[in-house]
């Protein structure tokens, strides 16, 4: 019985395919590792984030191209003047992937679970402006409003990270509202996504989206293998390519690689200014001197870093905000100039003396410090080696120390037994409010001197004030003015020396249409529902 059925069914399928002019298409690319969770509220790693982006439906989506908040599940929304209450008007007649209808109750359910301290959701922390739990009111099946305990800066944009889960679906978080749904997960091997038959979006002609039927995500940690497979045509795209790989692919097929310009990723270094750090007092005195920090910064040849380490696919960095972040970038800032003479002048002004090519401080200590970075990151190790030679020109001896990541984190967050550190920085969020924990002097991620009781310096006090100001204001222009000033202060005082902003490098198969890689994650597939794959052969799986 079964035997007879199968050919028949295949024939029917083939007929259907021929009539509909449609052969199942599949998008293939790689995840770096197994997603740690499929629960959209618990996501805190990049691979789970990818799954959430492809499967989750959100109320408001930040358009990755124009960086504007656009309506998604919410047809519209309004906020009160303080940015404390937001009211969503939902699209009618939407269904989850399993057919359960979508309503305001689901939004309320998701928000309640998200904000529940027991959930430990990293996404929730961005909403947490006060200890008071938000009040959620469902006034009609399509209207829900959320009142937070205190104003939340940039509130609407935060909903880009909140995938709505169903309150009633028997399959709970596996019922989704995004373009795809997880069909199969083989740990260590692959995640298979199928199209969400109930996805609401249609294109201009009224065709149901997404265009591509399936997404196969191979779990492949090795980037070299990933490139080889891309060249063989087994993969359709690669996000965030390594500059070496980019150039190599560009040689083979120049049309398949895209340099989308500055990304949100940068490399930076900073000096340890923690007063209780187990370092000699004279070293802490150097590190606390802004003239010393600026001198070091001016001795660094950033364009050499971009040219040699990144093969030209990077640009000297101006500050904490990349030019890719169009609204918040302070365009009046230029990267610290490479100027050895000026660096020497600054050092002399601080009482440093150059003798026989070596720098000594006022008390006669030779200037030597170590730079910590994580082992195994090829580019970072190269940067460290180049800094070593750059600093030699102003008489500073730099010792590079590479440690594995946990050891490094312990030193920079707990023991403070380090002198300087080189690390990368990725701003996932465009809004500066996400960086409160970096800039507030009392915050734990204020790396150069975290958890201060009182701001140690006047400029840190000013940053504290400005950051609080921008967080409590809802007028974009006022917030922008405040944060521009923060960037200005950071540029002047150089607590972080920003080195380079990396370019966003992607590879896209020529078979893929409508792709338009951007600087923001997920660079190559931000518009996944609109991606189309040219069907080349009948044998296409």
């Amino acid at each position: 019985m079964k035997r007879r059925f199968t050919p028949l069914a295949m024939l029917a399928l083939a007929l259907y395919g021929a009539l509909a002019g449609h052969t199942a298409t599949e998008l293939r690319f790689c995840l770096r590792a197994d997603p740690k969770t499929f629960d959209p509220l618990l996501v805190d790693d990049g691979d789970s984030e990818t799954i959430r982006y492809l499967t989750g439906g959100v109320l408001i989506r930040i358009n990755r191209k124009n960086q504007q908040a656009t309506p998604e599940l919410a047809a519209s929304w309004e906020m009160d003047r303080q940015g404390q209450r937001i009211t969503f008007h939902l699209r009618p007649n939407l269904k989850f992937s399993d057919g359960t209808p979508f309503s305001a109750d689901d939004v309320a359910f998701t928000m309640k679970r998200l904000m529940d301290p027991a959930t430990h959701s990293p996404t929730a922390d961005t909403f947490r402006s006060s200890d008071v739990p938000p009040q959620i009111t469902v006034s009609s099946p399509l209207t829900v409003s959320i009142l937070f305990g205190a104003p939340v800066a940039g509130l609407e944009r935060l909903f880009d990270q909140v995938a709505i889960t169903s309150a009633r679906s028997p399959i709970q978080t596996r019922a989704v509202l995004g373009p795809y749904v997880v069909e199969e997960y083989k740990p260590g091997a692959e995640v298979l996504l199928g199209r969400n038959q109930n996805y609401w979006k249609v294109d201009a002609k009224g065709t149901r989206l997404p265009y591509i039927d399936r997404i196969r995500l191979d779990i492949q940690q090795n980037r070299d293998i990933e490139q080889v497979r891309f060249r063989r045509g087994e993969l359709d795209l690669i996000n965030s390519l390594d500059p070496d790989a980019f150039d190599n692919l560009a040689r083979v097929s120049p049309h398949s690689v895209v340099d989308a310009g500055a990304s949100l990723e940068s490399e930076m270094m900073w000096f340890n200014q923690v007063p209780s750090a187990p370092l000699p007092a004279y070293k802490l005195a150097w590190f606390n001197s802004s003239a010393f920090r600026r001198a070091v910064s001016e001795a660094i040849n950033r364009s050499d870093l971009c040219r040699i380490v990144y093969r030209g696919h990077a640009r000297p960095a101006e500050g904490p905000i990349s030019p890719a972040n169009r609204f918040w970038f302070n365009a009046s800032l230029k990267p610290h100039a490479y100027d050895v003479a000026s660096a020497k002048r600054r050092l002399e002004g601080e009482g440093f003396r150059l003798r026989n090519g070596l720098l000594y401080d006022r008390e006669g200590h030779q200037v030597e410090f170590s730079l910590l970075t994580n082992a195994g990151n090829r580019n970072r190790e190269r940067i460290a080696s180049m800094l070593q030679q750059d600093l030699q020109t102003i008489g500073i001896r730099l010792n590079v120390v590479t440690l594995d990541f946990p050891s490094l984190i312990e030193r920079i967050t707990q023991t403070f037994n380090y002198e300087a550190c080189l690390l990368g920085l990725t701003n996932l969020d465009l809004d500066p409010s996400a960086q409160m924990n970096v800039w507030l002097s009392s915050a734990p991620n204020h790396q150069w001197n975290p958890n201060q009781k009182q701001p140690a310096t006047a400029w840190e006090a000013e940053i504290d004030k400005l950051m609080r100001l921008q967080a409590s204001d809802t007028q974009a222009e006022a917030r922008k003015r405040a944060f521009d000033r923060v960037q200005q202060i950071v540029w002047e005082q150089a607590p972080f020396l920003y080195l380079v902003t990396k370019d966003s490098l992607t590879a896209i198969s020529p078979e893929l249409q409508n792709a338009s890689p951007v600087a923001l994650t997920p660079q190559a597939f931000w518009n996944v529902e609109f991606l189309r794959k040219r069907v080349l052969t009948a044998g296409n799986r």
Binding site: T123, T126, I409, E410, P444
Partner: protein, 289 residues
């Protein structure tokens, strides 16, 4: 039978002691290694103070060696439940189930390929008088012995070679060296010389006389080569990103994943002890004979 029991009883006792001491030592080693108490997630500026505290508590809970051993060991022994890997957020037994076949395959290809290659080189070396072949086999063996396994892996990988067959290249020279000496000795035995002089077929001599005389040593060598294969699989997997136990060990080490590492140590100790036992048993049989 009694002999086997006599041989096995102290082995099992020893195995238990080694297992316990080994896993305890591993746990202590991981616990005191720098970076155990921190979590990468703490660098995420979005986290609030409460989330940060929760992360620290979770790590502290995993770092309690006594609790780990008190609870875990009994559950492992009684229910075969190896617990959860905190860094990968998955049950360890599941991780083992999906990764053991990969490592087993690499080892199997390695051992089988290595032995086949070694035999193909050693038999002609012993039997035929061609100096050219002898020189070739010897040089090949030397070259393979002189290459760092990890570099070999990279070179093969760079040129798109079969990385899964790499372990064979690590095992082959070691087996070859021993095999050649063994065969030289075997073929020099008077009765085999006589048989060859009388014109007995090569295959017959091999099957009737040589093989029985070298079998126990071959078995012992097989045991050793399995543990060499395991040792070589780890860097190969870690460098070439093959999803096996070796790569898992590497990941666990860099993430300071205590429960996972203890479980892997368990596995490694059992592996090596079983291999040792196999070669001991072989030499025991030899002594009896």
């Amino acid at each position: 039978m009694r002999n086997i029991v006599k041989l096995l009883a102290p082995r099992l006792g020893g195995l238990a002691v080694t297992l316990l001491a080994g896993s305890l030592l591993t746990a202590v080693l991981v616990r005191v290694s720098p970076g155990f108490d921190v979590d990468e997630r703490e660098l995420d500026p979005r986290l609030s103070e409460t989330s940060r505290m929760a992360i620290r508590q979770e790590r502290a809970a995993n770092g309690n060696i006594l609790a780990l051993f008190g609870n875990r060991l009994s559950r492992t022994v009684l229910h075969g439940d190896l617990g959860n890997s905190p860094s990968l957020n998955r049950p360890i037994s599941q991780l083992f189930r999906e990764r053991l076949p990969v490592t087993a395959q690499i080892m199997a290809i390695g051992v089988a390929g290595g032995w086949a290659l070694a035999f193909a080189l050693a038999l002609p070396t012993v039997l035929c008088r061609s100096r050219v072949f002898r020189g070739f086999a010897g040089t090949l063996q030397q070259v393979l012995m002189c290459l760092p396994a990890a570099a070999l892996a990279l070179v093969v990988f760079d040129f798109g070679g079969p990385v899964r067959a790499l372990v064979a290249l690590v095992i082959c020279p070691r087996v070859f060296e021993y095999l050649r000496n063994l065969l030289v000795e075997a073929y020099a035995q008077p009765h085999i010389l006589t048989a060859r002089a009388k014109g007995l077929g090569g295959l017959q001599i091999w099957a009737r006389h040589v093989l029985p005389s070298v079998a126990p040593q071959l078995l012992a060598l097989a045991g050793v080569s399995v543990s060499i294969a395991f040792g070589a699989a780890i860097p190969v997997e870690a460098l070439c990103d093959l999803p096996g136990i070796g790569q898992l060990a590497w990941k666990a080490a860099t993430a300071r994943d205590l429960p996972l590492l203890v479980a892997i140590t368990f596995l490694v100790i059992i592996m090596t002890q079983v291999c040792n036992a196999a070669s001991d048993w072989a030499s025991f049989r030899e002594k009896q004979a």
